[in-house]
Symmetry: C2
């Protein structure tokens, strides 16, 4: 970690919720940032973020807010990023590095190429693989990224110093930083993140839509609670993720539906040994991963 | 809670693992049992249970072990219960009440009708809706059932005193006791417990079976970890549950596959509002349930 020499004079966080707020809090706690300006389309979010000490100043899309900024983190839902990039583009000075926290990368990069074309050398796309089912500044906490992955998908256009600044900032937050190509990122996340979210949302909605939905849910236990925790996630954010990464998620969903068809055949055939083999392989793979 | 007058002189726990062990520990902590005898097909489990103080004595299918027992809890995988009932049947005195902790009830009742026919008035089927992905006596802890449901599916043959003894014992463990018909129990649990386990096992196995399985898993975060926690559950136990409750689980799996087909259509059509509506309904239902 490059903590010793690293210091940001001014950080601008756009979307001061769980991700943006936790990033600001982590850098503040480390003494790595002097001033945090928050920007959001929701005035209530900004007031709350300021009251909680997540940000120091409430900003907007104006010169004062962006002037002298070393780093801008765009931590809005992916669907907002086109507007955000477009609004901030004329306000960025040559020295300001921009990064984002979007859960999909190819679409964010395409938006940046459209709206931040003059600033691409200093736009470093990224994705902190961390979160909770809660959102908003009151959900933010400085340890959110501790020992979690931050995946960077740097552009060929990026300057080395911009990439290193983004890397150093996330390392100070406690994240394990790695680099991927944007398409590989999106394919991997479709599998281990986007698909499970879709499955959890679908399962709860399936039960909730029945006439005895609440009664069914009332007999669930800890397994169901954990399995569906991610179904309490932000609907707008996840709508955007699925639209952004639609093809990769669709491919994963198709593979999973084929898998379920095979499992249903084992079940209907009463094939105990084959079912147990699936469970055993699954348990072992999970233990190895943990 | 009937804690004041309730006291068991002798409890026999068959299968001294997570469920049986936690039941024994909870009753011991409450001072509600004088002596706990453990029986298991695994000698190592019994030695460990005794060393940990989960049981007082190692027993077997003999008169000494069952003589004077007020209560027997059969907490083995459902697939073992036929053998267990058959082995214990000649050893039960008229005063001994028997219950079980099986996750399915119609099949356990059928086994009891076959193997415990002479003792049906005192066999009270039950299911504590609690557990963790761990098993064995070292996973047991006395608070496992605190504020969890214990569902009884009493038989028409049961005596009132047998039902009340089982109810009182689980209430002392901190469980919220309710009664259901066995078929309703199995249908509800197929939905909220058995299906999610199948989905989690299938998802991990799907990734694990790919050439880059470990790499895929290495990019997962907390959402995936919680979603798949139940995929670390005991494969044998779950094989038995799926075989026992095959029809109900198969029906739920079919409904869920239909749901996923509908979700895939929304996804492939890029229908953002409809996807967001699914997510919103799901989140609200889950919040209401919590």
């Amino acid at each position: 970690m490059q903590t010793q020499s690293f210091r940001i004079s001014k950080l601008v966080v756009i979307g001061a919720g769980l991700i943006g707020g936790s990033f600001a809090l982590a850098l503040k706690r480390a003494g790595a940032v002097a001033e945090v300006v928050g920007i959001s389309r929701k005035p209530g979010t900004l007031l709350q973020a300021k009251q909680l000490g997540v940000i120091d100043h409430i900003g907007g899309y104006d010169e004062a807010s962006f002037s002298g900024a070393d780093l801008v983190l765009v931590a809005t839902p992916v669907g907002q990023m086109g507007k955000v990039f477009s609004a901030m583009a004329p306000l960025l000075s040559a020295k300001t590095v921009v990064t984002d926290g979007g859960s999909t990368k190819q679409d964010v990069i395409a938006l940046a190429r459209t709206h931040l074309a003059a600033h691409l050398s200093r736009f470093v796309p990224g994705h902190p693989i961390a979160g909770t089912e809660r959102n908003g500044p009151d959900a933010a906490f400085p340890d959110l990224f501790k020992d979690r992955r931050f995946v960077m998908t740097p552009l060929p256009d990026n300057t080395r110093s911009a990439v290193e600044l983004v890397r150093a900032a996330w390392e100070i937050c406690g994240a394990k930083v790695s680099e991927l190509q944007a398409d590989e990122h999106d394919a991997l996340l479709a599998a281990v993140s986007h698909l499970p979210h879709l499955l959890a949302f679908a399962l709860v909605d399936e039960f909730a839509g029945r006439h005895n939905g609440q009664r069914i849910l009332s007999f669930s236990g800890g397994g169901f609670r954990d399995f569906t925790r991610i179904a309490s996630s932000n609907p707008e954010m996840w709508r955007d993720i699925f639209l952004s990464n639609r093809e990769a998620v669709s491919a994963e969903l198709k593979l999973y539906r084929d898998k379920l068809e095979a499992v249903q055949q084992l079940l209907d055939a009463g094939d105990g040994p084959a079912l147990e083999a699936v469970f055993e392989r699954s348990r072992m793979a999970r233990e190895r991963w943990l």
